[in-house]
Symmetry: D2
Subunit: 382 residues, 4 copies
Amino acid sequence: MAKGMKCALIGQAFMGKAHSNAYRQVSRFFDLPLQPEMHKIAARDGAALEPFAKAQGWAGWTTDWRSLADDPEVGMVDVSTPNHLHREMSLAMLKAGKHVACEKPLASTLEEAREMRDAARKAKASKTFVWFNYRRAPAIALAWQMLRKKRLGQIYHVRASYLQSWGMASTPMGWRFKKKHAGSGAHGDLNAHIVDLARFLLQEEIVEVHGAVARTFVKQRTWAETGKQARCDVDDAVLFLGSFAGGATASFEATRLAPGHLNDNTIEINGELGSLRWNLENLNELWLHEESERPGESGWRRISATDGANHPYADAWWPGGHIIGYEHTFTNQLADMMRVLARKKPIMPVADFADAYETQRVLEAALVSARERCAVPLSEIR
Amino acid sequence: MAKGMKCALIGQAFMGKAHSNAYRQVSRFFDLPLQPEMHKIAARDGAALEPFAKAQGWAGWTTDWRSLADDPEVGMVDVSTPNHLHREMSLAMLKAGKHVACEKPLASTLEEAREMRDAARKAKASKTFVWFNYRRAPAIALAWQMLRKKRLGQIYHVRASYLQSWGMASTPMGWRFKKKHAGSGAHGDLNAHIVDLARFLLQEEIVEVHGAVARTFVKQRTWAETGKQARCDVDDAVLFLGSFAGGATASFEATRLAPGHLNDNTIEINGELGSLRWNLENLNELWLHEESERPGESGWRRISATDGANHPYADAWWPGGHIIGYEHTFTNQLADMMRVLARKKPIMPVADFADAYETQRVLEAALVSARERCAVPLSEIR
Amino acid sequence: MAKGMKCALIGQAFMGKAHSNAYRQVSRFFDLPLQPEMHKIAARDGAALEPFAKAQGWAGWTTDWRSLADDPEVGMVDVSTPNHLHREMSLAMLKAGKHVACEKPLASTLEEAREMRDAARKAKASKTFVWFNYRRAPAIALAWQMLRKKRLGQIYHVRASYLQSWGMASTPMGWRFKKKHAGSGAHGDLNAHIVDLARFLLQEEIVEVHGAVARTFVKQRTWAETGKQARCDVDDAVLFLGSFAGGATASFEATRLAPGHLNDNTIEINGELGSLRWNLENLNELWLHEESERPGESGWRRISATDGANHPYADAWWPGGHIIGYEHTFTNQLADMMRVLARKKPIMPVADFADAYETQRVLEAALVSARERCAVPLSEIR
Amino acid sequence: MAKGMKCALIGQAFMGKAHSNAYRQVSRFFDLPLQPEMHKIAARDGAALEPFAKAQGWAGWTTDWRSLADDPEVGMVDVSTPNHLHREMSLAMLKAGKHVACEKPLASTLEEAREMRDAARKAKASKTFVWFNYRRAPAIALAWQMLRKKRLGQIYHVRASYLQSWGMASTPMGWRFKKKHAGSGAHGDLNAHIVDLARFLLQEEIVEVHGAVARTFVKQRTWAETGKQARCDVDDAVLFLGSFAGGATASFEATRLAPGHLNDNTIEINGELGSLRWNLENLNELWLHEESERPGESGWRRISATDGANHPYADAWWPGGHIIGYEHTFTNQLADMMRVLARKKPIMPVADFADAYETQRVLEAALVSARERCAVPLSEIR
């Protein structure tokens, strides 16, 4: 029987629920060389913690996250807290010799991210992971395999956007709108995902940012509890343009104010031999266009990436045509993390702190561009 | 019976055919206060000209376009030649007191465009028009009406791209790849359309460009006739970011190397109260999302803009659900031009030289941004 | 220069306009061995006729359709009148030695259709045609070519429906709701189209009808002019099941009461090697699925049938990605009719009276099944 | 804390895995008045059983399903075996006073189904359930709510098809192709689902079947293990037409030979005030068309039924825009079953044996129609 590794989770909100599910489910569906055990959960809200821990299947719970560092049984700590806490918690756990799985974005600032990368480098016995879970939608993993085989030839364009609409003016104030807690707005939350996806799929780095614009459309929001107004100091939307090392252009757009888009993470790649397209709201589908079809017969093709015989991760789940949901991407990632910890090859590469730091550099370059480089006012063009 | 105006066309290629069709068809479908008469066509290739003229229904033909200026019967001259000829021809015709309808983009350079705008200003008796024909897809005109009524509230985002795929490496050399004739590549050809569409729909101006990137992926192409290689000196793709006066962000992308997209001019607008989306390959459809639906029932809605009782231009054509094609947008525009010439109100505003000059300024700002403003190399971000 | 044939049209309503357009446009776009000349139009409403004739480009007009038979110049007569007039007019014109192009359905009743077929057989010098125009959407013609080459292997299923929504209860009374004039309702109007399409594409005959249901949901309608109520005595919807000679099942549904469907003629074919799907509201697109793709990569593929180098009829129109509209299917058909009359091969086979009679037999079998064969009441099943 | 009920499952194949997941997950996501406990699983294949039971979280296991009847701790038995075993197992468990949840279709034959209904009637202390799990996709439940409120007015048409493609000629022989084990082919497997969905959504009964056709296209298949050929004696496809009590027409089609359709359960309903459409491959989406939109603005609207505040079941899962997968429909159903057992109101009505018997009667009527009622051969129509 497979060995186990005791895992601890910090955080009990939305991500806490999604991660808990992954720990609970992963061994039911994957045949793993190392099985995660739901050892302990840590969170601040003591009243809510016990029922949450029980409902989600955690054996223990604590309001003192630091105590996890001292628990010799804990093999891996999963940091699923707001962004401003990632650095401190990850560093403490690395110092204590734990493996660390951190939610994205890696950190609130590039400086923090750099510290985390450096700490990970030093902690040679520890593995680090970052929860860029969308890499592990089977359709994305299939696209990665195709791109690995150079199926699209030279890449010309990457077009990525992550459009949501929960940030309309009517939405009350919350931690995600405060720089102190969130670091940034849509940029860190959403652009982090699509920059990672683009880097992951192209398997090369972004080398230049050509321009960026950041906007906070809704300047004030009301705290639901107190009725008080407060200033939003993070972006609602950030757009930027970049170039990949191989010459491909890339455009990125993240926004929380795009009505009609609930969770629309879309990426398209155009190359010399064809194109690929995916979006999160139909995450089981990969669209492929190949120039090599019979003359007059090429066209975008909808592949349902649900076939266990042919699609990564799909054999763990259901027969072809039976779709999986959002949370399965976390379960798939946990399976790969367990394989890495057992020194086996993961189905898809998992981002570690060094990898996530590269994404953070791209996000930072966009901020620098938005802030420091001069735009061209139309008044100059006569 | 409606009066007529004798019209002349310069050009016999693709655009010559599309424009000829509009002149021939417009009075069959629209009840116009002034009817265009197909008086004369001018083009260089004398051998091809006569059969083309006859097939398309032109009463006369000439290889000397300048002679049109001296023909007192000609009321309007339609300049449908490659971009580098627009200025000279338009100026000559304005000088001769003709009304001028020019293909887009207005000119190869901003300087030429400015000259044309100034000439149009001076020629007080002449009307000028630019063939931004997509304004007149009924679905776009419907979107314009909705935006006119502020149906989307404050606008947050405009997302426009014009993706084609005929410029792959296998495509032979041609005038569209030479700066001398085309002025620019995808930028003038495709971004011109989507910048015009965005300005037209938002009914306000772009005030700033935040960054741009231009690429020529295919550096050399072969002349089909001679087998000789030649250098491509126009862009294959240009992307840029901008801001509208009201604060909306805008992204534009034009490319000829996006496999799977033949003629994919797509625009989406997100605002406080909803969103609109359109693409040229399904030009009869307008997608609308409204936040105001019953709770839990909002969603993107596909409107078939084919209903004569409710959709602009549609009553000229077929019953609801019977789609129109690409060339109908020219016919619709010609109908509006004739109304303007008869001092009637067009169904939708028609771009004149001054209006098209504003689009040209935006294109120029993007080029300046791509050329002169420093990008942020990732090597700076450590 | 190509020879001409003087053509006459009977009818000035919706179909009169669509047919007139085809006569006016066909020689502008197709290089034909025989060119139709717009000689004369006949219609009952004399007041409307002259302006209609002039606007549409007919050289002459008459309120006496019979006079066309005596006009020695007339080569072909186009019968575009309500269904109950098809027989009388076609027979008169065949007797006078004219070629006859008749709107679909061939006739109001099977008896009339049989008479027409027999008359066509006898009139050896005359060609007959029926306006099943959707055969000539380039996407359908492409599907026909694929099926001709057995690209789908053995055919298992044909699924055809023609859904409209203009027949809701609020729609006033009109000739299309009266059996005397229309013969039938959705059945003759819409099922005629999809039965023809299915037979055309499969290139084999329907041999059996397995059940049918006809419904008149809206029993009474109001005449807009008089405000008087009248009984609707045609069907609003007819569904039936059949089998093709080769064993494929076929389902057909026609209705005028399907909200959300304006003109939704959809056909899908499933075979041993793949599937094809088309719908009229996006008539430029053909969807193809092939089982033979690489494992894990098959999927529905959207082909834009707009490429002149590869798609039937498309070279007459615009470059790839520039869509054509509804009326082009008539123009394409007229081009083929002219080729047949010049003893050249049409791009796609044109239905003649004998062919259309086969479609009428299938419609009749469905009516017999709906009327005479016993349904199974659930009360019998205990 | 909520009380528990010990549950037992019979079956360890695909359905065994999907049901096990529901038992394991339901209390993690739903706040239930009664919690299912994973007491024991029974299956024939003893070697596979223990690892399956452990992996899936069952506390005990047995190869003797009958022993469950004698286990006083067992409150509910879930029958997830091939169809021919449903009757015997359900009857035994009802006799032992257990609640019974049975997979669909209820039974292999109408006679068996009747026996089961009658046994359920007699077993007054037992509740029965049938796993028509698609009722519980949030998008379907939302449609049910709309139809409950008569949002579509009078219903005209129901159009349901369940198209799969795993039954191509290359597929080896298996129990699903043998009448002895499966009872029927696509009819019981797939038509059972869509007849239930149609009855569930319309909330009225089918009163008549108007015609049907059944086909076995692939007559022989090869056993993978032995290489021997065997005869397929179930249908590959069954189509039939019916009428609902309120007059709506209904068409049903089930097939395993529709390439391009993996698991395409699609239903559309057209009524006086609008239409609804859903398909299983995008099970989170409901398409709605309403006639009541502003003139010229109606159209099909895509609702993402993922919003906990507004969509049934969705609050148990993830924030809006985060999709759920196939297996969640079972979990949702189990939640409702537990509510029923705790004498609380389920979110959506759960089918019991009496309800499933009505679906079985419709399937039987289709078979009678296919078998006994005369089709109309085209040879009769001259």
